[in-house]
Symmetry: C2
Subunit: 219 residues, 2 copies
DNA sequence: TTCCACTTGTGAACGATTTCACAAGCAGGG
DNA sequence: CCCTGCTTGTGAAATCGTTCACAAGTGGAA
């Protein structure tokens, strides 16, 4: 925990705002590397494709620590955002499914850089169990509960085929996990106190193809 | 184009609704495989984690073809959704970047199943250019415009490192592409008439870690 | 000290999306 | 035919998110 913890207002922050925090943080880190000390809302807005008012409103959820006339301290804002996004601790992640998607996710560098360490990999293919992915031993599905406990897993990434996903996730939840990132093309049903985010490859593509279809028709 | 084209009201449909259409379609295809002929809004809602009213409101954007007392014809609704999502034509897709993410996307079966055919792959690694990914020859970055035209590309998937993304996309847009799916951790700036969807691996993870942090603090 | 240019923080207006509530339509049974 | 149970379609209300507009704070220059 850093110096800014105490200032962080912890009222419920809209989901859309939290997602933009991730983006702001990304830009701020760029600025920090460039040696820039302060940014105005307008600058962040331009970088992030929103408006200055939006940026200020978003940041106002965290309290008020901008300087009027000057903008925000890059260092301070970076700290606050990292704190509110929970990026100051290391999160222990279990990856379910070591197929193509799973493997690509495992190897995705930015995860580790942000403190998400994949410490557990589960797959039910007997040919894979016992082999290593990166430095991590792939364990069989039957070891799931065991592995989650032993490795003190904080959150789980689901990258298994859709038909298997729900059953597996039920076990994950029963094992006490409270956050799931789902890449399987299935709508998972979870208790309300478990945080769930779905990433669907096809939903985005289909929304694009809808947009293209509309354009086409109008001409 | 299928029988239902004429019925599709083409007023502007909210983005959130279009995204749900993708989900509904997925479930409907399940139902169709199971030999179910009609579904009520409540059933779709339960499957998709929303409410019956939401489903009905969404579908009302497409006109009204449910049967009161009965629900919707699975076959008819499937047709309408496929049509409005533009899934009745084949879309020719170019993949920029044949790294880990790019490769995983290329190999992702559901894309092809939905009519998204990756016909072009571009990478700037000289070691990769000239080799094949699946059946597709990887071409150099300098051939970009050329490739897009020759292959009659409809939409582009960006899976290159963030620093390169903007420059590449500018060229893509100049070449007349009107839809971009961006996997690079960069906020792309495009003209308004180009449809853009961002998929960010880290944004979702960070929103989860924010959720976890909140839970922790409350106890 | 005063003025000026700049920027934040925020209530209020606005717009979009979701939920509610209910009239109207359909099928099946008696 | 009428009644009952079920489900759609949709205005109206409620909720949620974004944009506007401006008072108030800041640093620097004169």
């Amino acid at each position: 925990m850093n110096d800014f913890t105490s200032r962080v207002a912890d009222a419920k922050i809209p989901d859309a705002t939290v997602r933009r925090f991730s983006l702001y943080l990304r830009y701020l880190e760029d600025f920090e590397r460039s040696g820039i000390n302060s940014v105005a809302s307008g600058v962040l807005a331009e970088r992030g494709g929103t408006t200055a008012a939006q940026v200020r409103k978003d940041l106002s959820f965290l309290g008020s620590f901008g300087k009027r006339g000057l903008g925000y301290s890059v260092r301070e804002l970076t700290g606050v955002l990292r704190d509110v996004l929970g990026l100051d601790s290391v999160w222990r992640v279990a990856l379910l499914g070591a197929g193509r998607i799973g493997t690509a996710l495992f190897r995705y560098e930015p995860f580790r850089a942000r403190g998400f360490h994949i410490t557990t990999v589960i797959d039910n293919d007997p040919g894979k169990v016992g082999t290593r992915l990166g430095g991590v031993m792939i364990r069989g599905e039957h070891e799931l509960e065991c592995a989650l406990t032993e490795d003190r897993t904080d959150l789980v990434i689901v990258a298994v085929p859709a038909p298997v996903a729900q059953a597996l996730v039920d076990r994950v939840v029963a094992a006490g996990i409270r956050a799931v990132l789902n890449y399987a093309p299935a709508q998972l049903r979870l208790p309300d106190d478990v945080a769930l985010r779905n990433v669907s490859m096809t939903v985005e593509l289909e929304s694009l193809s809808h947009a293209l279809t509309r354009v086409r028709r109008c001409r």
